[in-house]
Amino acid sequence: MVASLFTGCAKKAAPVKTLVYGTTEKVTDMDPASAYDFHTWEIFYNIYQGLLGYPPGETNIVPALAASYTPNDKGDEFTFKLRKGLKFSDGSPFNAQAVKWSIDRVMALKGDPSWLVTDYVKEVTVIDDLTVKFTLNGPVAYFPAVAATVPYYPVSPNVYPVDKIVRDITELKGGKLVGLGAYEAVSFKRDQEVVLEANKNYYGSKPLVPRIIIRYFADATTMRLALEKGEIDLAYKTMNPSDIKDLSKNANFTTYKLSGPYIRYLCFETSESVFKDKRLRQAIAALINRPEIVEKVYLGQNEPLYSMVPKGMIYHTEEFKTVLGDGNLALAEKLLKEAGFTAKKPFKFDLWYTPSHYGDTEVNLAEVMKAQIEKTPAIKVNIKSAEWATYKDQWKAKQMPVFLLGWYPDYIDPDNYTAAFAGTAGSKGMGINFSKPEWDALFTKEQTNTDSTARQQVFEQVQKMWTDEVPTAPIFQGNLFVFTKKNVLDVKIGPTLQFLYNVLRFAE
């Protein structure tokens, strides 16, 4: 009644069709050279573009800013032909010089995701205004997938400083984000909202919803209530399992369940901690009961995972299921005994988790895992937590013998789920510190070989070896959920997890 007094004299809604999207995610750095998180990349997918990309909801790579690309015979040079007449959202021209400038900038600034460029690219050469050549460090079978990632997105040299990472848009010349994507950011209030409007200079199909307002919620329950109340049209990441269950049954909303390549796993510090002994890593991995975790903690909303390569991805196998199993007490106790641990002399260690980075259920996950692992009296687990900034610091300092992590892919290839954790360089960055020359040789073999049969053999072998060395233990593969009002259509998020807003529409 009170509300109606005011809404009675409310101004008419703005004529621009607007979709309000609620999320509990955060925006980090407004710079493709530095941002390395799911949500900021999602915004970049919509306000910037890469030379290559993915159609909404699909996994095949297609030309984007580049009209075409040609690898050389060896596979260590890729020449991109840019589309003609492209302009940044401020009207300034896009050309090969801007591509080179952007890549050189990423390499020089050495931001968090810069390894996606520096690990592969030796140099970028401008052939002419519309042609640019990438010379790689060596042949890379999946380079197009890597080149479709955000650090390769060209930015405007008129706006971004060459020598600094931009954390906030106030640091940009003109104070505005300028890009080549379907939308441009017209307003940015950190942790409050981002307003995107259709980019007049976009070369592709114009967005069907001209304005998107992304509203940031500190609390998932408030976001749920906002959706139920109609304050937002779409909610994505990250609802609590109980909210997911309720909203999925609510006929007023459309539920999109995305079986994406998001995985959760346990990491072991393998160089200095108590988990130097692989038998102990095998024992812990054998004790994990994945179906129980999925049911108890996530109410059946995720899938047990038996390999670091997720289900649905090429070369996926289920070695952990066959070799170590779930809740395999007999095997675990045998291994623990061999390592010198029994009920009288139990193996004690700290299991670490981070309380909010992966949602509110993390503490439950840690508690359930502790209970599973302690089914054998030969182990005593102490649960510890650290908030994300500290967590990262601690894994680098080797202060956590075993810790929970999650992974969204940088590019869609099994390499991103294996070399990143068990290759010497990647493993060090993840706090696992696993290093075996035969493993590095296998990764090099699959990275430089374009033959899919040869790559399949390598990945099958690596997944088998994983159950022996266990640098990490996969736990589950996540499903992501998007909830929308009934009149919101065409939410297309495929296995790449790229959410492109320009295909969203309202029902007539």
């Binding site: 931009v166 408030t222 500290t390």
Partner: protein, 338 residues
């Protein structure tokens, strides 16, 4: 007047050591706890060289004492410094977010007093009755209630089930605050812009979060008002007013309450600090873009100067409110002289 001025100067000067102690504690705690802004900024893959370079740039590799003295000298010039994470002055997000928090806490305080004082006075006037018991029970229960739970319940009942009120943000989802924003106090800004519809929208959004804060803190005011009123109602002058035949309503709410008000005023000053603390959780629950959320966000990022800046601002406001309360004493009670 000379005495009042001396009192004011003394209070202001006393604020300085209070702020110094608080800042020192915060400064030390931030730097000894694990994690640092460079790790938060650069992520897990940054080379060691880049990390060291960044630490040097930010002065984090200097001895803690040197960092501390440098910070104090900055503060002495009323300079809160620069954010370590974003290229901006610390004052910038504070100036942007402070009005949202002040608006929330002021209206929250209004609800606290609106609910707490009349209920406490009524309970005192009906001592040992069932209504007195019910009001005391209310006071105890709401004071123990976590503010975020209260907020969620109010959102559920009034926002979702009854669909009377909005549950998040300062304005409607599709509103454009840039059209009227001037001071950051949206109620004032919409009035200045002459936009009554926007003003209504802003007030509706303000209602539930400030009511949440107000209800939770009203508990203590119920108890305090009741206790003071009981003392005052036993006084001779109250007996005299009753003997003169004044209606009980006037005896309680005009004569007794006025005299019971001094300790309530004291509590108001003290509770302002609690209100600011409660605002942090309330802002999270209602997605209210204020200082509380800013503080949480910058703790997450280990942005030391911004965290310190927010705490300085909070401390200054608490001191100001406390000083204001003391000044109001003199106005309320002519017996008080400085």
């Amino acid at each position: 007047m000379k005495n009042l001025l001396r009192y004011l100067i003394t209070r202001v000067l006393l604020t300085v050591p209070m702020l110094l102690i608080l800042l020192t504690l915060v400064f030390v705690v931030l730097r000894v706890m694990p994690g640092d802004p460079v790790s938060a900024m650069l992520g897990a893959h940054a080379p060691e060289r880049v990390i060291e370079q960044k630490k040097e740039e930010l002065g984090l590799n200097r001895p803690i004492l040197a960092q501390y003295l440098s910070y104090l000298s900055q503060l002495a010039r009323f300079d809160l410094g620069d954010s370590m994470i974003f290229k901006q002055r610390v004052s910038q997000p504070i100036v942007e977010k402070l009005p949202a928090t002040l608006e929330l806490t002021l209206v929250g305080m209004f609800f606290t007093l609106l609910i707490g004082i009349p209920l406490g006075a009524f309970a005192a006037s009906r001592r040992r009755s069932s209504r007195d018991f019910a009001i005391r029970l209310y006071g105890n229960v709401v004071y123990c209630m976590p503010v975020y739970w209260m907020g969620l319940m109010l959102q559920l009942v009034f926002g979702v089930w009854l669909d009377w009120l909005p549950i998040s943000g300062r304005t409607g989802s599709r509103a454009m605050p840039s059209l009227f924003e001037r001071t950051g106090f949206y109620v004032l800004d919409t009035l200045l812009a002459g936009d009554l519809a926007a003003c209504g929208d802003v007030l509706l959004h303000l209602f539930l979060p400030s009511l949440t804060l107000g209800i939770v803190l009203s508990g203590i005011f119920v108890r305090l008002t009741r206790a003071n009123m009981l003392d005052v109602l036993k006084s001779d002058f109250i007996l005299a007013t009753r003997a003169r035949g004044l209606p009980e309503r006037l005896v309680v709410y005009r004569h007794a309450l006025k005299n019971a008000f001094i300790p309530i005023l004291t509590m108001l000053g003290l509770q302002f600090a609690i209100l600011l603390a409660g605002a942090i959780l309330t802002e999270s629950t209602f997605s209210w873009p204020g200082m509380g959320r800013l503080l949480l966000e910058r703790i997450y990022l280990r942005d030391y100067p911004t965290i310190q800046g927010v705490i300085v601002v909070f401390a200054v406001f608490v001191s100001l409110v406390s000083l204001l309360v003391d000044l109001i004493y003199a106005a309320v009670d002519p017996r008080i002289k400085y």
